[in-house]
C-alpha cells in the first residue's frame, strides 16, 4: 500500500486558498520532488503533512492512518521527519544536544526517573548518547559534538538538520530546499548523500527544491505546484517539457 496519501486536501488561510485539491500517493522507497514558483504552497504542503497546519479539508494518510488532527509530535512519532527551508536548529544548544532532543519520544524512562537519575535513566542516556554520536559520525559532525549549533559553518548546519531529522527514526523524510545556498560541489555531495541515506535508512523521501539539477538528477517523480494547484505530475523528462510548467516559471507567451 502507499506509504503516504493525500486525498482532496484543501487549505485556506482566512480567505486565501493556499492549497487546492492536493492528491498524492507515494510508494515506500520513492524519491519524489515538489517544485513550483515561490509562493506556490510547497512548504505549506509540508506543514499540512506534519500537522503544523490542520487541513481545512481532506485527508492525509500515513499507510492507513489519518494524520489530520494529530499534533505534530505525534506525527513525527509515527515516522515522519522534516527539515526546514530556513534552518531551524536549536542554535544555542550543542550539536550533540540538537540530535539528542530528536530522540525525545524514543526515550524509555519517565519524568520521575529523570528527577532521580535512576539506573534505568543512566542506561537510556548512555544509549541515546551513543546513538546520537554514531549518527553525527555518519554525517562527519562528531568533532563538533559540544559546539553550539550557531557556530557551525553553513553546510554543516544543513547536514546537522538532516542528521537531527534522522534521529527521529522516520520512514518518510521531508526535505525543504536542502540545497539552498550551496555551491555546485556541495550540491553534488548532497545529491549523493540523499540517495545514500535513502537506501541506508530505508526512507521514502519528498524533496522541495528550486535547484533543477537536484530535482532532475535524483527525483523519480515530480509534482509541480503553482498557486496551490497541482499543475503537473510525472517523471522528470515529462515535466521538463510540460507546457504548463514552463508557463508557470517563465510566464505566458514562452513556448
Amino acid at each position: 500500500m502507499p506509504l503516504l496519501q493525500a486525498k482532496g486536501v484543501n487549505h485556506y488561510f482566512g480567505g486565501l486558498k493556499a492549497v487546492s485539491d492536493l492528491n498524492l500517493a507515494l510508494e515506500p522507497g520513492e524519491l519524489m520532488g515538489i517544485i513550483g514558483p515561490n509562493g506556490a504552497g510547497k512548504t505549506t504542503v509540508f506543514n499540512l503533512i506534519t500537522g503544523v497546519y490542520r487541513p481545512t479539508q481532506g485527508q492525509v494518510l500515513l499507510q492507513d492512518q489519518n494524520l489530520v488532527g494529530l499534533r505534530p509530535h505525534q506525527i513525527i512519532e509515527r515516522g515522519v521527519a522534516r527539515t526546514f527551508q530556513n534552518i531551524r536548529l536549536f542554535k544555542d544548544l550543542s550539536v550533540l544536544d540538537n540530535v539528542r532532543i530528536a530522540c525525545y519520544s524514543q526515550v524509555r524512562y519517565g519524568p520521575l526517573a529523570s528527577l532521580l537519575h535512576t539506573a534505568r535513566f543512566r542506561q537510556e542516556e548512555q544509549r541515546i548518547r551513543a546513538d546520537s554520536v554514531r549518527l553525527l559520525g555518519i554525517f562527519h559532525l562528531e568533532g563538533y559534538a559540544s559546539v553550539p549549533a550557531r557556530n557551525l559553518p553553513y553546510g554543516e548546519q544543513r547536514r546537522l538538520e538532516i542528521a537531527r531529522a534522522l534521529a527521529t527514526r522516520p520512514t518518510l523524510l521531508l526535505l525543504d530546499e536542502p540545497a539552498a545556498g550551496m555551491n555546485p560541489g556541495e550540491i553534488k555531495r548532497l545529491m549523493e548523500l540523499i540517495q545514500w541515506i535513502r537506501s541506508e535508512f530505508k526512507l521514502t523521501i519528498i524533496l522541495i527544491e528550486h535547484q533543477m539539477r537536484v530535482v532532475m538528477g535524483i527525483c523519480e517523480r515530480i509534482l509541480v505546484l503553482d498557486f496551490g494547484e497541482t499543475i503537473a505530475e510525472g517523471k522528470p523528462k515529462e515535466i521538463q517539457n510540460h507546457p504548463r510548467v514552463l508557463e508557470a516559471y517563465l510566464g505566458k507567451g514562452v513556448a
Binding site: T43, F46, F84
Partner: protein, 297 residues
C-alpha cells in the same frame, strides 16, 4: 446613573494612563512597568506646582493655575520619561526583552521609593483649583470636577488620536511598530520618534495624574495600584492599539465602579482579574487587538 458618571470619571484616568503603556509597547514591544510610577510622579509634580503657584501671592485665577499645573506636569513628566528612556531603556534595545522588562520594574521601584524617601508616605491632596460645586442635571448630581475630567480627557484623547493618525510623526510611530528595522532606512529618525512616543505617552499619564489628583488623594504607592489597573486596561483593549487602550480604560472603570457598588470591596480585585483571565483565554490579543498571524514555518 450616578455610578455611570463615576465610572466614566475613573475610566478616563485609566484610559489616559493606558495610552502610555500601549504606545510604548506598540513601538518597542516592551511593557514599560515604570509607567505607573511615572504617573505617580506626575501627580506630585502637579501637587508642588499648584501649591507653588497658589502660594506665591500671584493672585492668578484658579483656571490659570489649573492649566499651568497641567502644562508643568506634562512637561516635567515628559522630560523624566525621555530621560529614563535614554539612560535605561535605549542601551537594552537589542538585549533580550526580559532585561528591558526587569529594568523597567527596577526603574519603577526606584521612582516609588525615591518619592517615599524624599517626600514621605502620607497621602496628600492637590490644592483645590476646581470649585467643589455640584450641578444637578436630570436628577443626577454632577460635580464640576467630573465635568473637567471628562472634558479634558476627551479633548486630549482626541488630539492624540489625531496626532497618531494624521501627522508624519504619528505615521512614523505606527510604522516603527510594524517593522523597526526597515524604518530607519526610510530616513526616519528612529530615536527621536521613540523619544516623542515616550513624551506623548507620559504627557497623557500626566494629564491623567492631574485629573486624578483633583478628585482623589495621592500617595507614593498609587503607581502600583493605578498603574497596574491601567496596564490591564491596555491589555484588555489590545495592547499596542491606541483606541483599544481608551476602550479598555473605560471598561475597567466601569467594572471597578459597578463591582464595588454591588459586592464587598475585597472581591473587586478578584473579579477584575478573573475577567481578565477569561478574556485572555478566549481572545488573547484583547478586544481591539489584531490577531497575530500564525507563525509561518
Amino acid at each position: 446613573m450616578q455610578q455611570v458618571l463615576n465610572a466614566l470619571q475613573l475610566g478616563s484616568v485609566y484610559a489616559l494612563i493606558a495610552l502610555g503603556y500601549t504606545m510604548v509597547y506598540g513601538i518597542l514591544r516592551m511593557i514599560n512597568f515604570a509607567h505607573g510610577d511615572i504617573f505617580m510622579v506626575s501627580t506630585y509634580v502637579g501637587f508642588f506646582a499648584a501649591s507653588f503657584l497658589l502660594g506665591r501671592s500671584l493672585h492668578l485665577p484658579n483656571a490659570v493655575v489649573f492649566v499651568l499645573t497641567l502644562l508643568v506636569a506634562m512637561a516635567g513628566t515628559s522630560l523624566l520619561a525621555v530621560f529614563i528612556e535614554r539612560v535605561a531603556y535605549k542601551p537594552l534595545r537589542n538585549a533580550p526583552r526580559i532585561s528591558a522588562v526587569i529594568t523597567a520594574l527596577g526603574v519603577g521601584l526606584v521612582l516609588e521609593n525615591l518619592t517615599l524617601a524624599t517626600i514621605g508616605p502620607e497621602p496628600r491632596i492637590l490644592p483645590q483649583v476646581i470649585p467643589r460645586i455640584n450641578l444637578s442635571l436630570g436628577g443626577v448630581s454632577v460635580s464640576a470636577i467630573q465635568i473637567v475630567i471628562l472634558a479634558i480627557s476627551a479633548v486630549v484623547m482626541f488630539v492624540l488620536d489625531t496626532i497618531v493618525r494624521k501627522t508624519m510623526t504619528g505615521t512614523a510611530m505606527r510604522a516603527i511598530s510594524f517593522d523597526k528595522s526597515v524604518v530607519p532606512l526610510m530616513g526616519v529618525p528612529i530615536d527621536r520618534i521613540i523619544s516623542i512616543t515616550f513624551a506623548l505617552g507620559s504627557s497623557m499619564a500626566a494629564v491623567g495624574g492631574i485629573l486624578y489628583g483633583i478628585a482623589y488623594m495621592i500617595d507614593p504607592y498609587m503607581g502600583i495600584r493605578i498603574g497596574w489597573w491601567a496596564f490591564i486596561s491596555a491589555v484588555v483593549g489590545g495592547i499596542g492599539n491606541i483606541r483599544g487602550a481608551m476602550v479598555g480604560g473605560y471598561i475597567l472603570g466601569f467594572v471597578e465602579i459597578f463591582v464595588a457598588a454591588f459586592l464587598p470591596s475585597t472581591y473587586r480585585d478578584l473579579i477584575v482579574f478573573a475577567l481578565l483571565l477569561v478574556l485572555l483565554v478566549f481572545k488573547p490579543t484583547g478586544i481591539l487587538g489584531v490577531p497575530v498571524v500564525q507563525q509561518k514555518v
